[in-house]
């Protein structure tokens, strides 16, 4: 059992490292992990004096919004890129579960993007001289971990969905801005028409944001965090099922190209 766990961890770690090595040369990573959060922070908060509470909420919203873009463009594109490289079949028909391999790659992409987003956001925050209210730093760390887990699971799900459609790249672009507007991060969900408020409810990052807003106000409300975790598990489960269906269909239809 221990040996199996160790091997599983090693497989995920190797996949994570391979993804991160590849990300170093992708210009899109600079756009989503550096340019986008910096630009958003300057647009949203660059000319305003923010209270510590407002600063926490604003920076959290920008970081989570940037995380959504990063999830769609980096983790969500893992399998599409594999097809482009001609490595898809080897990755999903190896001796190990394709979900484990995809998990490692998606985690690699999410962590790499998250580090970039946090570092560039921190630089802007220092430049603009924001002061923060962080009454519960431990809970913020938990929120960050949930964000990474959620981005990984959502990335896996999107990667599978982008794989089964021929128009993955177009879907990637199409998913970004509606979520910017409807995701409840930059625009409060209450500001949306009532018939559209279910959209942000499906996005785990929106619930993490609600949790961070509450924490910055001094209260720890676990319900939004619980919803975020539940949604993350839902994404993960859907991704595993979707990948299995996609790989089985690929073997039946002959769409798994080795090169």
């Amino acid at each position: 059992m221990t040996e199996r766990l160790l091997t599983g961890g090693w497989v995920a770690w190797m996949a994570l490292r391979a993804e991160q090595q590849g990300m170093r040369t992708r210009p899109m990573v600079v756009v989503v992990a550096v340019i986008q959060p910096v630009a958003l922070l300057f647009v949203v908060a660059g000319t305003r004096d923010l209270t510590p509470g407002e600063a926490t909420v604003t920076v959290s919203a920008v970081v989570l919004t940037a995380m959504w873009s990063a999830t769609v463009w980096t983790a969500g594109g893992v399998l599409r890129r594999e097809r482009g490289y001609g490595t898809l079949a080897r990755s999903v028909t190896s001796l190990y579960s394709p979900s484990l391999v995809l998990f490692g790659r998606s985690l690699g992409a999410t962590v790499y993007s998250a580090v970039g987003i946090l570092a560039s956001s921190a630089a802007v925050v220092a430049l603009l001289g924001f002061r923060f209210a962080v009454p519960h730093p431990g809970w913020l760390l938990v929120a960050l971990l949930v964000v990474v887990a959620s981005g990984t699971a959502l990335g896996m799900l999107l990667a599978c969905l982008f794989l089964v459609t021929r128009h993955g790249l177009a879907w990637s672009g199409a998913l970004i801005y509606p979520v910017f507007i409807l995701g409840g991060l930059l625009i409060p969900p209450d500001a949306l028409p009532a018939w559209l408020r279910w959209v942000p409810a499906l996005l785990s990052l929106r619930w993490v944001h609600e949790f961070v807003v509450a924490v910055s106000g001094g209260s720890v409300r676990l319900a939004p965090l619980g919803v975020a975790v539940a949604l993350t598990l839902g994404y993960l489960l859907l991704a595993v099922v979707c990948l299995r269906v996609a790989v089985d269909a690929g073997r039946r239809k002959g769409t798994l190209e080795l090169i």
Partner: protein, 331 residues
């Protein structure tokens, strides 16, 4: 006798449906004995790659069964993958930004190489294909030949018992191709079974124990390589050039005159001889005793000639030869 490395029985594969239906394989049956190299020949679209993909568990057969060392490719995926290495030719199949070593380490891990031995096995595999010095370079800087060698290293790194090679020498220069053939020949000595598809008949001629000719998704010929070469009906083409009258006895004995040309008193005759040895040499000498011979050239029959003849015969509707006991011949 042990379990065959590959056992394919009545395998068919259909792509698409209705008007778009394409039958890639029909009732394909053959075996590869352990330690044997089976050369699969066929023109583009004959079904060779489909067959390789089925054995590599990338594609399910529509009908029939395929087994690798007794394991069903449809149901026992892990067991088949553990025993099989796959090498597809081409430029793609790697992460361009990663080094050769990093690519190989990652794919070796996926192929089942354990974490304790992976470093040594990857270094050995890179050295084995002559890429040790270029191991740190990104794959996008590799030449076509180097990428192909990396593909070979990838196919071998997990020490498979069955190696599926699909057009392994495609695009390689003659030196690289020869190097690859030497590597494959060395593998035979280690007992690895190999299914080799290639357009280059030299690969098959040099390496294969048996030859399988696939056309329109069917196995048309399944025979030992030596017998396949003999199926042309002649062992060599002798080209004679001389002056004066054409020797009358030339068409006798067991020599078949293929063509005779006469240009300005110099004739050129091409003969197909059923074998090329001392007896045939004596017969030819006797036939040419009174002739004024200017030159003699002997070209042993090549697999390329045989393949062209076989395909010509098949096109003319000659029945296929699918030897029932095909898989039992071993070298």
């Amino acid at each position: 006798m042990g379990v065959p490395a590959v056992e394919v029985t009545g395998v068919g594969r259909v792509f698409g449906r209705g008007r778009h239906e394409v039958v890639a394989l029909r009732d394909v049956t053959f075996e590869v004995a352990e330690g044997q190299i089976l050369g699969v020949l066929g023109s583009n679209g004959a079904g060779k790659t489909t067959l390789t993909k089925i054995l590599a568990t990338l594609l399910e057969p529509t009908t029939g069964t395929a087994r690798v060392f007794g394991h069903d490719v449809r149901r026992e995926l892990r067991a088949v993958r553990r025993l099989t290495g796959v090498v597809f030719g081409g430029d793609r199949g790697f992460y361009g930004a990663l080094s050769g070593r990093d690519n190989l380490r990652y794919f070796a891990m996926l192929a089942g190489v354990g974490r304790r031995t992976i470093r040594a096995k990857v270094d050995d595999a890179l050295a084995g294909v002559g890429l040790a010095e270029a191991a740190r370079r990104p794959v996008e800087t590799y030449s076509k030949g180097m990428r192909q060698r990396l593909h070979i290293a990838l196919g071998l790194v997990a020490e498979p018992r069955l190696l599926l090679l699909d057009e392994p020498t495609v695009g390689l220069d003659p030196v690289e191709a020869e190097r690859l053939r030497t590597t494959i020949a060395a593998l035979r000595r280690t007992g690895v079974s190999i299914l080799l598809t290639s357009h280059y008949l030299l690969d098959i001629e040099r390496l294969a124990d048996r030859v399988l000719v696939v056309a329109q998704g069917r196995v048309m010929v399944d025979t030992p390589a030596a017998e396949f070469a003999r199926s042309a009906g002649f062992a060599a083409t002798v080209t004679l050039q001389g002056r004066g009258p054409l020797p009358a006895r030339l068409d006798s004995y067991r020599m078949a005159v293929e063509s005779v040309e006469d240009q300005g008193g110099v004739w050129t005759a091409r003969l197909r001889v059923p074998d090329w040895g001392g007896e045939m040499f004596q017969q030819l000498s006797a036939a040419l005793a009174d002739a004024d011979v200017l030159g003699v050239d002997v070209a042993p029959v090549r697999l390329e000639d045989v393949y062209a003849l076989v395909m010509q015969r098949l096109a003319q509707g000659e029945p296929a030869r699918t030897a029932g006991a095909a898989g039992t011949d071993r070298r």
